[in-house]
Symmetry: C2
Amino acid sequence: MSHFEVIASDPHCGARRGVLTTAHGPVQTPAFMPVGTAGTVKGLTPDQIEATGAGIVLANTYHLMLRPGAEVVERVGGLHRFMAWDRPILTDSGGYQVFSLSALTRIDDEGVEFASHVDGAKVHLNAEIATNIQNRLGADVIMCFDECTPFPAEPERLEKAVARTIAWARRCRQAHRRDGQLLFGIVQGGIDLALRSHCAEEIVRIGFDGYAIGGLSVGEGHEHMVRTVEHTAALLPADRPRYLMGVGMPADIVAAVRAGVDMFDCVLPTRNGRNAFAFTRQGPLRLRNSVHIDSTEPIEDGCDCYACRNFTRGAIRHFFNCSEMLGPILLTVHNLRFYQRLMAEIRLQIEQGGFDCWAATALARDDSVR
Amino acid sequence: MSHFEVIASDPHCGARRGVLTTAHGPVQTPAFMPVGTAGTVKGLTPDQIEATGAGIVLANTYHLMLRPGAEVVERVGGLHRFMAWDRPILTDSGGYQVFSLSALTRIDDEGVEFASHVDGAKVHLNAEIATNIQNRLGADVIMCFDECTPFPAEPERLEKAVARTIAWARRCRQAHRRDGQLLFGIVQGGIDLALRSHCAEEIVRIGFDGYAIGGLSVGEGHEHMVRTVEHTAALLPADRPRYLMGVGMPADIVAAVRAGVDMFDCVLPTRNGRNAFAFTRQGPLRLRNSVHIDSTEPIEDGCDCYACRNFTRGAIRHFFNCSEMLGPILLTVHNLRFYQRLMAEIRLQIEQGGFDCWAATALARDDSVR
């Protein structure tokens, strides 16, 4: 049996309903992964994360390699024990953060050298090191080390990054040493569809357990993003999971599922939650607004999350107003539950064969996915 | 049936095991109340607080009157609904904070005027206002407005404060308007035992549902504190609950229970938890210490709290090191559970008749109560 099984497909678009089997159990796809950067989804305990319906979480190799270090995580028994999360985990490769958070001091075909954002220490990272670190962290799914380009990028810069991403993917495949740990390749190429085709072809030729589309949601906008995802997803093997990295808003997710994407991660529900921004089916809600002072309404009518079942908007606004941790905690719980309810609805619609129609309506009309 | 029932007493000391009946259910005493200053025990959801074993929490009138205001709490359905805490709540009167947090602009026999610590606004507070605010907040137990003196205080200052505390207690009793809400009187007098006797006599003469000992744990030290509590508790009616305000360390609590005290509140378990300090039976633990980097031990061996059941010291140290909210959350959970386990042990020892012996041993030997 393969580690990925498509159990239903929408006849009118690329959407599929699947199950990804990992060393820590199955993941129902399309799936959204909350981001647990430093080994914790900010503000939540694992049982609170589980209660939102999340079946898999993401942790950042870049952050964990700097603090506490892969060897420390390994010594205490691996990432699952460290995070107290007994279900599937995916680690990224650190590539994205090296290019977005660090002062780069060198980049060449071999790898990169950068100054840690924590203490400025010079750190070396390349395909072999990133793979070895992820082997030691012990997530269920690990990612190839890739070169991420900003948007917009010069054509030569993009081409060079794609060439390196392909070469590094080959090296990651070679360096991968841990049984039972799935390794995903990453397709880069900005919004250049020809480059995406070339990169996809080469990455698929190397052969991975799954395929990611990287380098999007970096400022190109919804239309370019969707066009690139539609183009790229169609080039990836139907029998392997497809993961759109770092995306995104609910509308982005619905559009990408339509194009055949199975997995997502994004900081929006958690980061926005900490900033008093709530996702609701009736559109965004800013909980610091004084209009909520004595509101007895829940954040979102009909939501079954712990915050909505127990707290009024008035109380949550007060917690933010007083800088009480409970404000960010409750909105993080709600936003993650909102995303998981969206994914559950998507999965149900695909199973029932009505996804394409539902998605078109949702994208055209519903504030909640915009 | 009275609202307070003593169900067991230790034959060798003043310790008693009781049940305080409130509008939101019974409280098993001796009881420790976690402090939920602004309507939230910092960092925890109500279900996490409940899981520590807490049967009653405290909220601060001073903070809630300034933000969001008693009228807002009242409009959204009262403090229980606001905090999403369906069990007993006690509010203090604001007296202590007026004297410790504010810039006082006037104090006389009528009441006080102070500058809010939030925005500097001039606020007026007196016996009638403090009682009315607490009536509107709707806690199960409310406190008289009293004058708190610093330590040390001049004899005339202390005498004046005691006289005002007595006069204000009489006015609070008169102003109290809410059925089903218990009103406790407060005995002041610093460490002057004669003044404590005088104050206790007058406060008992007015007659309240319970009696508090205020003005301690302000720098007088363990010995003075215990001497004053032993002296004062003995002067209070045996058929009413006794509450030692703002105390304290485990050793203070054990000594005060021995003197016949039934209720406690203190910020130590929560505040220390946020500062990476854990209470354990083996003594204090500072989780920022690098000695814990790759420790696979729980905070405290044998502890049944969520943090100890799921996380290693190494992971918790990492969360503090990265300023992740999960560090303070987990140590708050642990410390509150530590306090509740202490109270459960105290209650059991009294029930079994062995409290005095247990307490003497604990006070003499055990790091965990020091």
